[in-house]
Symmetry: C2
Subunit: 127 residues, 2 copies
């Protein structure tokens, strides 16, 4: 019940990650099979809220892999696994919207609507 | 009133940034003087919420600069400036908690309490 004793548990339940180290965090399916990793996150500048995870699937060390932009709500952090769980399936990925070119300029509300439509996640700008 | 006409304005008011590109976003004082840049963000893994900005002050291209960990609430994104505004002062920085060593392991609730005490920002874990 002392402060010293309580601190480690509290910290463990609120893990923090630095944005420049987020790359490579594993993502697991409901059966705890590793299906990919976080490539990077997409953050709304004003609110400081993570709205998308750009995930890498397949390949080895980034070679031969492909990325998909997934709404943040599809991921749940599991402190035991040390990664995120998701219920997305291979079938869902096959038909998912794909973006290419310079990622810095592709943010466009209509493209974002495509993502949210596909993943059946309410748009974050409507919250 | 069409969807096409509404999209650009909506997008402009909700700018997104990728976590691997956040480095270097400028930070301005209340008089629009550039005082530093975002070095990286610290994100709570479970909620996907940005809780701290690690800011670089001084120096040139990172040489001779120093960093401070600032509660996210001290920053407000200004879409006109293309950066964050803050009311933190040089005097406040002088006495602010400083962390060194491997940043991956320093997260500790008591050290975080020092940050929030210093910056007079309620702790995010109490929300």
């Amino acid at each position: 019940m002392t402060q010293a004793a309580a601190t480690p548990d509290t910290t463990a339940s609120h893990p923090l990650i630095e944005s420049n180290r987020v790359e490579g965090t594993p993502v697991y399916d409901p059966h705890s099979k590793r299906i990919g990793t976080i490539h990077h996150l997409v953050i709304e500048k004003v609110s400081g809220r993570v709205v998308y995870a750009v995930m890498s699937f397949g390949g080895f060390l980034g070679i031969g892999s492909h990325t998909h932009t997934i709404p943040w709500e599809k991921l749940t952090y599991d402190t035991q696994l040390g990664g995120y769980r998701t219920d997305i399936t291979q079938e869902q990925l096959t038909g998912a919207p794909v973006f290419s070119g310079d990622e810095r300029v592709w943010w466009d509300r209509r493209r974002e609507e495509d993502i949210h439509d596909h993943w059946k996640v309410p748009p974050y700008w409507g919250w």
